[in-house]
């Protein structure tokens, strides 16, 4: 079984609000990759993370862990799932109990999952995990959370995830509360984990620039749906969905040439109708857009776009985004045959 986690048409609604709509994604163990999920606030990124982590059950559709529905996972399988799929959350202040030394968050998983047989072994494991994220154990252990910086606390969270030798880490905005100069350090330690241990990472962020720096794939979300997905370099240099293009054009660049137009105050978000959620802001919306939301069209081996401008391309087989995601170099490429059957 190489299929670690698979979301099938996962939809999550909260009352009248749809937070995540019809998401299908397979995360393949053989093809470890860093996949960034980008989008504005309210686009459904965090819901996607929580659904993958089994913290929210989809309202319709399902999430499978090694072929078994998360809803009906037995006790033992659930324990393995909890070990193999780890979470890192946004706020490195909130996850700590201020009355405990930081050792506590590291010791708990070691005990819970019986990772060590002796106190010495426990200590060695924890020290190795801290070193792996660039921290000096002697500077960290025995301290209280308030004695450490936000960057140190967030790296301890990465170390905690690492202790469990996970197959997948879902990191929800891990650097948005950390100073810009420390962001690089944390992201680098995440990337090192991926490179050295072959851990897949789903990196949820609103910052396309950091996504570009560390990820192999990007999923762009807009109002609960995936607008565009595929290999990072292609998406950044040749965005296809009009929303992705707007997003990239809006990023303020550190350059003496100004990419922001003086008068181009882009269209504000209009109310979403029955069709494409982006239609109200789209410069090229047509009649088809108003009727039904566009499916994902596979415009290249490593790209899927939910926009009727690409209706000539075949629809993505099973709508599974895993089909277009690439792994790190050396891993099997996406299978073009699956996407081209319709041709």
């Amino acid at each position: 079984m190489t299929e670690l986690l698979r979301a099938e048409h996962a939809t999550k609604t909260f009352g009248p609000l749809t937070a995540l709509s019809d998401l299908s994604l397979t995360i393949d163990e053989r093809r470890p990759a860093i996949t960034a999920v980008v989008g504005e606030s309210g686009s459904g990124k965090t819901t996607l993370a929580r659904v993958l982590l089994g913290l929210e059950m989809p309202s319709s559709g399902r999430v499978l862990y090694r072929g078994k529905d998360l809803r009906t996972l037995g006790t033992e399988a659930r324990m393995t799932f909890r070990r193999e799929v780890q979470a890192i959350f946004q706020d490195p202040y909130e996850v700590y109990n201020p009355f405990y030394r930081v050792d506590h968050v590291l010791l708990t998983p070691v005990r819970k999952f019986r990772l060590a047989m002796s106190a010495a072994q426990r200590r060695a494991l924890i020290e190795a995990a801290l070193r792996a994220v660039g921290l000096q154990p002697e500077e960290i252990l025995g301290r209280f959370p308030h004695q450490l910086s936000g960057g140190q606390r967030q790296r301890i969270m990465v170390a905690r995830a690492l202790l469990l030798r996970p197959k997948l880490i879902v990191a929800d905005e891990p650097v948005s509360m950390v100073d810009a100069s420390l962001r690089a350090t944390i992201l680098t330690s995440l990337r090192t984990l991926h490179e050295e241990l072959g851990i897949s990472i789903v990196y949820i962020t609103h910052d396309l620039a950091t996504a570009y720096q560390i990820s192999h794939n990007i999923l762009v979300m807009y109002r609960a749906r995936v607008a565009e997905a595929g290999a990072t370099d292609g998406i950044v240099t040749r965005p296809e969905h009009p929303y992705t293009r707007l997003l990239i054009a809006s990023i303020p660049r550190v350059s003496s040439e100004r990419n922001w137009g003086a008068a181009a105050e882009a269209a504000a978000a209009g109310p979403g109708g029955a069709g494409c959620a982006f239609m109200g802001r789209c410069p090229e919306g047509g009649a088809a857009c108003a009727a039904t939301p566009p499916p994902l069209f596979r415009t290249a081996v490593d790209r899927a776009v939910a926009c009727y401008r690409y209706r000539e391309a075949p629809e993505l087989a099973g709508a599974d985004l895993g089909e277009v995601l690439i792994g790190r170099p050396g891993a099997p490429p996406p299978d073009p045959a699956k996407g081209r059957e319709a041709l």
Partner: protein, 322 residues
């Protein structure tokens, strides 16, 4: 340079701390030309927001302004009475604060909040004219007239920030200070709000001080940029020069620590941590983190000196290529 609209000279701000006085702003000087957009950038804790508050004389105990002067159109602000200073805030210098969500009154309609601002500064208009003025202000910042009757919770983040800009410009100030006005917004909305601010500022002929840490935003918006470190200005230059040829090693580190869409490569953090203001290293405050640090830097704090056209830098080794 007598044409300056705002002149800040040797401004110092300290906070009382159990372990002694902490200098949050240490001898900062700069001038703002009419209509100019000036940026103040640096990491958190470098004193940039304190600067903004000090210009408006809004530092509260345990903080105090303990030196320097701020002149608006030649008028020394410390000579003004409390009441005159209160009138001058908003009318002369307006602040768009950080986190618009928190600065609007949640139980008051937007129109009423603009009305309050006007009334507090002696603008008495008949109801009809007042409503027209409010509608006009809202449309200037790209909001529909109906927004006047809405409460802050009914607005999106971008709309709230626009409402804050509407309040800031309601008396046509000479200077607008915007403190990280878009840090809570996503990039698409950020761009829209900043473009609105740019247009409004141009139409009013007001100068802007943009406070923030995003060098990309600075590069896109300001004309001239000042970099702060540990309470001091360490480099001031036209923004084009700053991004293409930064002279201070801290400026270079700040720029290269920013992930960019233009170059993919190793992410570089700035080594070490920003120093504690109550325990600054001797000499140049940046030397423990600086790749160019030498013996001299540990002894002697560099003064700001001229470096090229319209630029100043505080580094002993500003001429050394990176």
């Amino acid at each position: 340079m007598s044409g300056a609209v705002l002149e800040v000279t040797d401004l110092c701000v300290s906070y009382a701390h159990p372990l002694g006085l902490v200098r949050a702003v240490d001898g900062v000087s700069f001038r703002l030309a009419p209509g100019e957009r000036f940026g103040l950038a640096g990491e958190s804790g470098c004193g940039k927001s304190t600067m903004a508050l000090a210009i408006l004389r809004m530092i509260r105990p345990p903080g105090r302004i303990d030196g320097g002067s701020v002149r608006l159109d030649g008028v020394e602000l410390s000579s003004l009475s409390r009441e005159a200073m209160r009138q001058l805030r908003l009318a002369g210098i307006a602040l768009v604060p950080q986190g618009s969500m928190n600065s609007l009154n949640p139980v008051m309609r937007i129109g009423r909040q603009i009305e309050d601002a006007l009334a507090n500064h002696g603008v008495a208009l008949p109801r009809k004219a007042l409503n027209a003025r409010i509608a006009d202000l809202l449309s200037t910042v790209g909001l529909r007239g109906e927004v006047a009757a809405m409460y802050p919770h009914e607005l999106s983040g971008g709309m709230k920030q626009r409402a804050c800009i509407a309040i800031a410009i309601c008396l046509s100030p000479r200077v607008i200070i915007a403190d990280e006005p878009t840090s809570a917004l996503d990039v698409v909305v950020q761009r829209q709000v900043m473009e609105t601010l740019a247009r409004v500022q141009r139409d009013l002929g007001a100068a802007v001080i943009l406070v923030g840490h995003d060098m990309g935003l600075m590069a896109q918006f300001v004309d001239r940029l000042g970099i702060m470190y540990a309470g001091r200005l360490v480099e001031v230059a036209p923004v084009g020069t700053m991004v293409t040829a930064p002279r201070h090693p801290y400026t270079r580190a700040l720029i290269s620590s920013l992930p960019s869409l233009d170059r993919k490569g190793e992410l570089q953090g700035i080594p070490g941590l920003a120093p504690l203001l109550r325990d600054l290293p001797p000499g140049c405050a940046f030397h423990p983190r600086c790749p160019l640090a030498a013996e001299r830097c540990r002894r002697e704090a560099p003064a700001l000196r001229t470096a090229g056209e319209a630029a100043v830098v505080a580094c002993h080794f500003a001429e050394t290529a990176p």
